[in-house]
Subunit: 341 residues, 2 copies
Amino acid sequence: MNREATIYDIAERLNISAATVSRGLKDHPAINKETKKRIAAVAHELGYRSNKFASNLRGQRTHTIGVIVPRLNSLFMSSVLAGIETVVNESGFNILISQSLEQQAKEKSNAITHFNNRVDGLITSLSYETEDFSHFDSFIQKKIPLVFFDRVPDTINATKIVLDNLKAGYEATKHLIGQGCRDIVHITGNLKRNVYRDRLQGYRNALEENGIPFAEHRCISNDLSEQAMADCIHNRIFNVSQLPDALFIANDSSAAFAISILKEQGYRIPQEIAIVGFNNDLISKVTEPAITTVNYPGYQMGQHAARLILNDISGQNDANVSSTVILNPELIIRKSSLKQS
Amino acid sequence: MNREATIYDIAERLNISAATVSRGLKDHPAINKETKKRIAAVAHELGYRSNKFASNLRGQRTHTIGVIVPRLNSLFMSSVLAGIETVVNESGFNILISQSLEQQAKEKSNAITHFNNRVDGLITSLSYETEDFSHFDSFIQKKIPLVFFDRVPDTINATKIVLDNLKAGYEATKHLIGQGCRDIVHITGNLKRNVYRDRLQGYRNALEENGIPFAEHRCISNDLSEQAMADCIHNRIFNVSQLPDALFIANDSSAAFAISILKEQGYRIPQEIAIVGFNNDLISKVTEPAITTVNYPGYQMGQHAARLILNDISGQNDANVSSTVILNPELIIRKSSLKQS
DNA sequence: TTGTATGCGTTATCAG
DNA sequence: CTGATAACGCATACAA
């Protein structure tokens, strides 16, 4: 006997109808307790498992939520996904994860795949590249709930969860100024992405507040890769008139690369150049010196995203009211920025 | 008009039968080319998308492959998944990813979820904890293809992809001996897992070959967490009669933690203690000194795993012949182990 | 080359 | 509290 057991098999064994079995299995209130017990017993005995296709086909629901992230290889993303998973699992949902590898084309094809798989909702953090959002149109048209986290679009009217990047940028810069830095270079990602744009604004606000003029050439935007950091430091930091006294870098691995390069050239950190990173990734704790950074509450972000999308799916909130959740950043001060002590 | 278009809608528009549409859409050879074109045109116009539930229900296939990994937060895992994805996508499959967070219980529930989702195959890398493999029984019974990579079970007869950890352990140790080290401590994970057990064997082989006796207390097994590394180094390295001249540590983040701690205590690396890590994770390049490590070809592992499981699914190979693919390790030498120069 | 008929396993509706 | 029935959308065996 290799065939899958169905509710008919159970029904036959108990001389009741398949409808009753179906109801019994779902703990329908109108079914006799005894009957339920017998159904459960036979189901177990037969190794019955509900056929999701049939159920989905019937119910027009997949109980699956798609997730598109730029990359999986960070503590942050891993935490976000763990957060999402715990929440959605409680409601009997699964998640379908894909990575865009920071490419718009891949993000588009991922979105199409999720759409064709009929996910009940889509949670996304945008790639560096994404400028065109038309791949989300089909979701909007079909009213499939859309939630963005961290790297969110400006133009789409959807639920969003972000860190207060403006505040984070402000705090980080203020901290450096407090350490006596006056010439702070900000190295960041694509300014089309809210996370980088907002941090830059925070940086500018802090400068302004302290009477330090903002200089266009002291903000460098690249793709934050190892190569880009090497180029950037050699061509834009070393080869200019005056060495800055601090670097505020938009993620920890890039900050770690920067530290490597600077130390190689004989610079002392933080004495000559102070460094602040971003994300509180594992790497920030093991460099020499350890990196001052901004904590990213990935697990909470994931949980929030999941709760919001589940609400959307169950239609608990006005489809017209799109909320934005803003989480508070937390500056973690380590040695790479402490000029004072 | 909000309803999804079906093959019936297309059929109606063209005054042909739904069966013809179904066949036309799948490029069935027995359908007129002209008819196919017209079907494709109307399908496009109507925004038709195949209903996977119906199709799966009918075909008893999900075209989905489940993946269970211990954790997502490493370059290695991210690469493996990218490798899997590229291969399976070409064949029209999707992947359903879940993380066990190194817990047996979570791995079990993940496996059950995948089973209930009717994945066509399951790719797994075991958690630290897993000792009982009964959660894979249902897959074996139902003859659902099973592929393991990296951390594989010894007892289950399934397709496996592993790095040659024995060789890697041997090469790493030999390298340290070549640098003049004679008292090498090996810090590793749970020896139930093949990856750690094999590396230990390689380590022992290298010692033996060089006439260095193996000492039980010079092999330390823990969970490789930050806390465990701190405990281990304080209690088993510092507080013993003689300081070792090298540490061979089973992953790069742990090696990075070790370096932090050792430097904090004033030890010079590699002069006093040489370090070799494992995985070639990002972190290994930015510590001071950079860590000598073993490269892990994640992308290839993923591709292999995907190809093998697709073969199993399409029944191209004997179900009885279970193959094991063994990939070659590559030692990457950096400063943390170079006593000579 | 195309059409007809049927079943895949569930669940909602309606009737009892 | 339970049963009969239809419908979800597709893909195939068989017939034409």
